[in-house]
């Protein structure tokens, strides 16, 4: 599973992209977040400190924490967008 991080989420974790193989019981974006937090304490900390400020996308579309995921998915975590 491809995981990408953007903006200050990436700055905190220090990784922009990684390929991970979460256990079979990690079937949602929310569960993946928790599991990734174990690999990256800074990510766990960000989620705890700013739970509303970490957004996610699956396969290039916005997705909430209940969205189900599979090993071939492309998942991304980032702050609320500030373009325009």
């Amino acid at each position: 599973m491809r995981v990408r991080y953007f903006a200050w989420v990436r700055d905190r974790i220090g990784v922009s992209e990684e390929t991970v193989q979460p256990p079979a019981d990690v079937t949602t974006v929310g569960a993946l977040q928790v599991w990734l937090g174990e690999r990256h304490p800074a990510f766990a900390h960000a989620l705890e400190e700013y739970p509303d400020l970490v957004k996610s996308a699956v396969n290039l579309e916005f997705a909430g924490p209940s969205r189900s995921i599979k090993p071939t998915d492309d998942v991304a975590f980032f702050p609320p967008v500030t373009g325009g």
Partner: protein, 148 residues
Amino acid sequence: MIRVQGEPFDAGREIGAFFEGRTDVGGIATFIGLVRGHQSGTNVAAMTLEHFPGMTERALEAIEAEARRRWQLSDVLVIHRYGRMLPGEPIVLVATASAHRASALDACAFLIDWLKTKAPFWKREETAEGERWVEARASDDEAAARWD
């Protein structure tokens, strides 16, 4: 049409080309977003726009499609830059063409409001105190929500 690019663009020239030769259109509405030289009392020396390649184009195309569903538009143009830019430079251009002005004006406002909250761009400012990520604003969420 959607263009996501690192290079600067000439907003006036793009607008001129957008309506050049059109005789089917009564109104063109445009919005240009510029880098401001100060923000909340702090001088901003430069701004860097990060984006999510692939998702950005897809999100902007979905927003354009939604605008075309809601209004009768002859044409739509969205140009959005990424990378580092200086105060006064255009970040984004939205242009709409319609037979009737209300459609052009409303669709233009809709496009920039949705783009602000639904396209994966992130701004980082360079100030005398260092760099900082720009925080999302509740007013942008409210502006987008009025189109729900």
